[in-house]
Subunit: 192 residues, 2 copies
DNA sequence: CCCATGTGAGACATCTTCGTCTCATCGAAG
DNA sequence: CTTCGATGAGACGAAGATGTCTCACATGGG
C-alpha cells in the first residue's frame, strides 16, 4: 500500500511517534533525538525521515497539542450551560493532553521574543473570552483578570500533570483538584 | 583587601553573579555559560573560577533559592494569626524570589529519579504542614490534599512570575492574584 | 520471482558547548 | 614603584548532539 495512511491528515506511524515523543519530552524536555527515537521504538534515521530535525519535531508537537487543545475547547461547549459546568467539561476534555500541554507551556517560555504559533493566540483568546463571559454573567469574580485566570488555568493543568507524574497526587483526582481549586480556592466557604 | 568578602557567608560578587544568572535562566533555562557570564558582566573564565561548572552553578542557585524560600517561610510566621493571613504573608515574602523559584521548580522536573536537594523536602513539609493545620482549624477545605495545595502554590507562583515576565499581567497584582485565586478561586461567592 | 519502498544500524563531518589553560592587563596593597 | 591577585580575552581539545549519508535487510505488491 504505497498510499497507506494518506487517507488521514496524519499518518498513523507519524502520530504514534509524536505520542511517545510527547510522553518522553514531558518528563525530560532535553531528551536527545536518539532517545526520542528509541522511545518510539524506531531508529534515529527513521525519526529524521519523518521530521527534518529537532525543530520540526517540536513544531509538530506544537501543532498536535494545539489541535488537541482546540478540540477540547470545542468538546467543552463553553457557551452552553453555566460557566462552572463549562470549566468542568474543559478540564475533563483537556486531561488526556495535559502532559503534552505542560511540555508546550514550558517550551514556549524559551521563545523569548520570537513569534508564537498564531494558533495559540486564538486558543488563549477563547479561554480568556470564556472567563470574561463568566464575569459578565456574574458567575466569576471580576477582580481577577481573564488573562490571569487563563494563565492560572494553564499553570494548574501543567502542575497537576507534573504532580501526578511525580507521584505526589493521585491520577484520579486530576480533574477534581484543578476544577475545585480554580473555582473555589482553598478557603472553606460558608456554602459547604 | 585579600580577605574581602569573607566576612559574609557569600561573597558579594558571587551573590551578584547568582542574581543575574537567576534572572537570565528564569527567562531562558537553556542559556549558555557564556551567556550567563555576559549577563553578569564578567568573562566566562571568571564565571568558571567562581563555579566549577554548570552543575555547580545550578546547585548554587538551588541553595540560594532554598535559602530565600526558607527565609520567606520564617518571615511569614505561618503559625500566628489566621491561615489566610499567614498565606498572604508567605506570598508577599516569596514575591522577590518568585522568578528564581520558578526556574528551580522547572529544573527539578529534570531530575527524573535523582535525589532532590534534601532541603526542598523540608520546605515542602513546612508548606504542606501549614495547609494541614489550616484544615484542622477549619479554615481550609479538607477535600483538597495538602500535597496538592502545596504543588498548586508552587505552580501559581511560577505561573505568576512568568506571566508578569511575559507582560500578560501587571507586576503590582502578583500577590493579590495568587492569594485570591489560591484562597477563594474564580467563583463569585455570596460573601462578596 | 523480482522489485520497490521503508527501515535499522552505523559511519561521518559539523557544530555547539564545555572545561581548562595561557597571557596580557588592571588595580590595590605594601 | 613594585608586587600580587583577580580579571578578560582568547586558544585549545574533549565531549555530545545533530544532520546526512550509505548499506544491508525485510516486507509487501506486482
Amino acid at each position: 500500500m504505497s498510499h497507506m495512511g494518506y487517507v488521514r491528515l496524519m499518518t498513523l506511524d507519524r502520530e504514534q511517534v509524536l505520542r511517545s515523543a510527547a510522553a518522553l519530552l514531558t518528563r525530560k524536555s532535553t531528551a536527545t533525538m536518539d532517545e526520542v527515537a528509541k522511545a518510539a521504538g524506531i531508529g534515529r534515521a527513521t525519526l529524521h525521515r519523518h521530521f527534518a530535525g529537532r525543530d520540526a519535531l517540536v513544531k509538530a508537537l506544537e501543532n498536535l497539542g494545539l489541535q488537541e487543545f482546540e478540540a477540547a475547547l470545542d468538546a467543552a461547549r463553553l457557551d452552553e450551560d453555566t460557566s462552572e459546568e463549562g470549566l468542568r467539561r474543559l478540564i475533563a476534555a483537556v486531561e488526556p493532553s495535559a502532559g503534552l500541554m505542560s511540555f508546550l507551556v514550558n517550551e514556549n517560555q524559551l521563545f523569548e521574543g520570537d513569534e508564537v504559533n498564531e494558533g495559540w493566540n486564538r486558543a488563549d483568546a477563547r479561554v480568556s473570552a470564556f472567563f470574561r463571559r463568566g464575569q459578565e454573567r456574574g458567575e466569576f469574580r471580576i477582580d481577577l483578570t481573564p488573562a490571569w485566570l487563563t494563565e492560572a488555568l494553564y499553570g494548574l493543568v501543567g502542575t497537576g500533570a507534573w504532580s501526578i507524574q511525580a507521584g505526589r497526587v493521585a491520577a484520579q483526582d486530576f480533574q477534581y483538584m484543578i476544577v475545585e481549586l480554580l473555582l473555589g480556592g482553598a478557603r472553606r466557604s460558608v456554602e459547604q
